[in-house]
Symmetry: C2
Subunit: 329 residues, 2 copies
Amino acid sequence: MEELNKNQSHSPFTQPIRCIVKLGGAAITCKNELEMVNEEILQKVSEQLRQAMIASSEKPPGMDWSKRHGGSEICCNPEEFGDHSATECSRFIVVHGAGSFGHFQASKSGVHKGQLNKPLVKGGFVATRISVTTLNLEIVRALAREGIPSIGMSPFSCGWITSERHISSADLSSVAKAIDSGFTPVLHGDAVLDEIQECTILSGDVIISHLAAYSKPEYVVFLTDVYGVYDRPPTEPDAVLLKEIAVAEDGSWSVVKPKLQNSIELTVAAHDTTGGMKTKISEAAMIAKLGIDVYIVKAATSHSLRALNGDLRSSIPDDWLGTVVRSAR
Amino acid sequence: MEELNKNQSHSPFTQPIRCIVKLGGAAITCKNELEMVNEEILQKVSEQLRQAMIASSEKPPGMDWSKRHGGSEICCNPEEFGDHSATECSRFIVVHGAGSFGHFQASKSGVHKGQLNKPLVKGGFVATRISVTTLNLEIVRALAREGIPSIGMSPFSCGWITSERHISSADLSSVAKAIDSGFTPVLHGDAVLDEIQECTILSGDVIISHLAAYSKPEYVVFLTDVYGVYDRPPTEPDAVLLKEIAVAEDGSWSVVKPKLQNSIELTVAAHDTTGGMKTKISEAAMIAKLGIDVYIVKAATSHSLRALNGDLRSSIPDDWLGTVVRSAR
């Protein structure tokens, strides 16, 4: 877990960020097929992001003028753009996970454990970056087709470096400059260099909490493939959706809604065996401690649209399904 | 043209670079079809790069473990890597042009002229980056398949920024760190932010001369779709290949081999109408002035292999076809 109380006086973010969105790997890729985008969900997520970011009721012209795979036509109609001034677009940062991209390559080679001098690790590092940048390009294109001025920015290229798997340096100025120029940066979980163990995997969740600490967005949304955080694996029949989690000054957290009988410690440990929800809650808690509301919600639903819109900031409607993680203050 | 005499005391390149290679857009893409890689040439170029960079006669295991377009199989055999120490790989930097990627998007929108507040320019900026990063990914994958530890690094993401189209800041430390970690950075001509005109296109040739000035490689190779620089468009029947160009202290240059009747000024002006060869010679001359030999040679030929190998450093064999640009000193 990263220490977020470092000196943040040198933040390059000069203007407020509205929202940081995590597109969960499990939500936007097909879990059971290697390197397969869930096109339907990605398209819907992109559409909701456009609705949340761009006030205009009209869909702006698309910005992906490249051929589609297997296609021979370039989709571009410059006349659509006309000569009017640019569409106002909210300041969002998008970060996505890997899902069925990258994980295979990273786990086969053990990139997260370091030791770049091993040929297999070096090969896996290269292979992982190829796989995750392939997904990044697909996501940038899906957003651009909706008229969102998306710009792919790989943490590796941006100079993000870890030290024993914690971020030790991350040049946020290029991300900030991209936003100041009206673009929507799209970052991703990546293979990066590590000062101690030579290399590792930097997860999208860790990137989000780092970005949140420096850019202080109004709110953060995690789009996942389930309705939120449950008290046990959501596949179990009695699983209860935790609707509100409060984070105390000391970083400890408790479930506010609904009232639970079991202790939190226990339920989280149990949940974690199903895959990484503990990291997500920990990172969400770090962000909430800064006074930033975090919404963990199922992608491509009416609930995710309300979260992306920022509709939940004043109060959480009873019919909203998802998990809010916020400061107890 | 960029001023290369700036203070270079802060170069992050701590160890010598052997070679910077430019993969010309015209060589590796199909000129007459939008967004089409010339697979045959790219494969051959990648193979020659591997031969030049990796001493082992055996081809190392491939590092592209992703599915091919339309394929369903991941090509990966971790056992191939064994447990022996890493293959020694020469320190190369690869930079590629755009060819039939990016040009369409950039010219339709006028990204090179700036004014990001115009919707068409912003759309074109996003579209251009999508197109050139698509090509970058293809090239990184082709190199990785040959066992070259290639890492895509976009100038935009690396924080390269121009001022009135000249590079004003470029964080070379991430490129240097990638090389120090044993990787081969693969950069490309890109759409970037400009401090004066908001945005522009940064060409691969300008990137090369900037990198050369700071990293001082032993030699630089430009792989093109013709045998080198000619005294007139190479499609004309009497076109003469300029085999050796000498660059004086003041940056002026003259053809040493063969002896020509016409003046150089004239021939270059004529040549330039056929597309960008003047920029290439200018950038090559800037590099040569630093005492670094530049070889301009046809990609995927026996001549390009000799250039990439560095076989031409002591003397240029009579049967070598290509253009050498070097300091007159």
